[in-house]
């Protein structure tokens, strides 16, 4: 189990004032949702937390070691990321794609063994793409590719899961399936941190929410205390209607 901490972190978005420094602890068992309008820096924040994008100031700490002092390989054993956009210049099958998740765990001379294969198969099954394992990635639909990307992260099996809009391109059933999968992972001791666009998903599945404003302001806390209509209306610059049904909050945009 691992913890990811942001200390006085200011992400580097060119031309934007520093805004509010982030001090967050992403602990095992937690599911964090980052909400914010387009261009607020959600993806940049995710990349900064993964050490793929330099911060303007402050630092990211993985289990008491600053990310900067760790080797990429050691980071990759604890922390994994599903990107919003993926490159597939060269043809690759679904199984090959899932198996690259084992990369940080194998030494240069090792090749994937039966247990790596088993982990990949398990992940593909969990995301309902096991029937596609010999298909080429570029022949799949957007939603299927998204599920393969999540299966790759599951095969990597890090303690900390960062996901950039994991429900992108997914149909309703698979959106729910993915969110339930993330909840199961959190219950088994993983920490999940993801960007989302769907308030209702955040309300239902996230334990913590971070609101990221376009001007760099931010606030965070337990989901119940953060998802109040006034804050969300200011966040999106959009009037909302909040409904209650069986104890669940549902947000609908007003016209």
């Amino acid at each position: 189990m691992s913890t990811l901490r942001a200390r006085e972190l200011i992400i580097n978005i060119p031309g934007r004032a520093d805004g509010f420094a982030l001090n967050i602890n992403v602990e095992p068992g937690q599911i964090w949702g980052v909400l914010g309008p387009n261009g607020a820096g959600k993806t940049t924040l995710l990349h900064t937390l993964a050490g793929l994008h330099p911060a303007r100031s402050g630092q990211v700490v993985l289990n008491d070691s600053p990310l900067k002092e760790l080797k990429r390989r050691d980071i990759a054993r604890h922390l994994g990321l599903v990107f919003q956009e993926r490159q597939d210049t060269f043809p690759a099958t679904v199984m090959e794609t899932a198996l690259i998740g084992r990369h940080p765990w194998l030494s240069p001379w090792e090749s994937e063994q039966g247990e790596d294969q088993a982990l990949a198969e398990q992940a593909l099954t969990a995301l309902d793409v096991d029937g596609l394992s010999e298909r080429l990635l570029n022949t799949l639909s957007g939603g299927e590719r998204q599920r393969v990307a999540i299966a790759t992260l599951m095969t990597q099996n890090p303690d900390i899961w960062l996901l950039d809009e994991p429900t992108n391109h997914l149909d309703l059933h698979h959106q729910v399936k993915v969110m339930n999968l993330l909840r199961n992972q959190a219950e088994s001791g993983k920490a999940v941190f993801m960007c989302l666009h769907d308030l209702n998903m955040a309300a239902r599945w996230c334990s913590h929410v971070l609101l990221l404003y376009t001007n760099g302001d931010a606030c965070w806390g337990a989901t119940g205390s953060m998802l109040v209509p006034e804050a969300l209306e200011r966040l999106y610059n959009q009037r909302l209607i909040a409904l209650e049904k069986d104890g669940l909050s549902v947000f609908v945009p007003a016209q």
Binding site: H47, A50, G51, L52, K71, R72, R73, D74, I75, A76, R77, G80, L81, F83, R86, Q87, D88, T89, F90, P91, A92, T93, E96, I100, G101, H103, P104, L106, P108, W109, S111, Q156
Partner: protein, 319 residues
Amino acid sequence: MTRSLLGLGVMALAAMMLALAMGSVTVPLPDLWQVIQGDGSALHRTLVWELRLPRAIAAFATGGLLAVAGALMQVLLRNPLADPYILGLSGGAAVGALLAMLAGMGTLLISGSAFAGAMLATMLVFGLAHGTGSWTPSRLLLTGVVVASGWGAVITLMLAITPSHKLPGMLYWLMGDVSYARTPWPAFVVLVVSIGLIMPLARNLNVLARGPMQAAALGVSVRPLEWAVYLLASLLTATAVTTAGSIGFVGLIVPHMLRLVLGNDQRTILPASALAGGTLLVLADTLARTVIAPEQLPVGVITALLGVPMFLYLLHRSR
């Protein structure tokens, strides 16, 4: 994987046999077998051991080097059209070599100068094409083509001012002809050693093919790896050009064909490229020696005749 490599190995041996048997004087297979066992007529022994074998090994090593260099560059740039010849590296190497020859330097310095030229060309193309953004396919190819024509102009200039007695020695750099290879062994050793060096990195390259961010997220130290691949690809190109001049398109055709058949696992593609690239150039060189015998064609002509349609087809299909 092992089976496809074995198959390619058998094909390489068969191509070698063909190269040893064919030529102005045909050595029939039973006679060739006797020569290999140490018997046979004196004429056949000289033909096989002293003329054809060194040349076949030189062709094999050059083809292997170019194909592996192409495969590496394609992964590095995530662009299936990358090739040492198209990106102007061969031109840079040729300019380096010609400069050293103009100055009357020895073989070793010519090789060093060709290497420096290849490195300079790589840096120029990659640096200019990178700019502030990423290596986009169109920008990279365009930069490579423009820089290559720049090298072409420099080469023409140097040929124009070179005293005529030095010209024949220089022309081979430009034509790509295995018959000028003095000794095949340096190229062969570089090929074998670099395959040995790159194999532990092959899985890293598979991850790098998914893009630098994804690779970093999966634990690859992207910058050092990119530099290592870049240096190695330049070294391979420079060695190939030093052995047999600038031979085009092997680095483009071979990895592409192999990917269609074997998929894109670099652990297979890299050694397979060495074997298939070597086989292709041995066959092309045998063809170049025999098609209008006793006259010989530069092997670069054959590979260009194969490569140009292939490249245009790929470009047409890419979008």
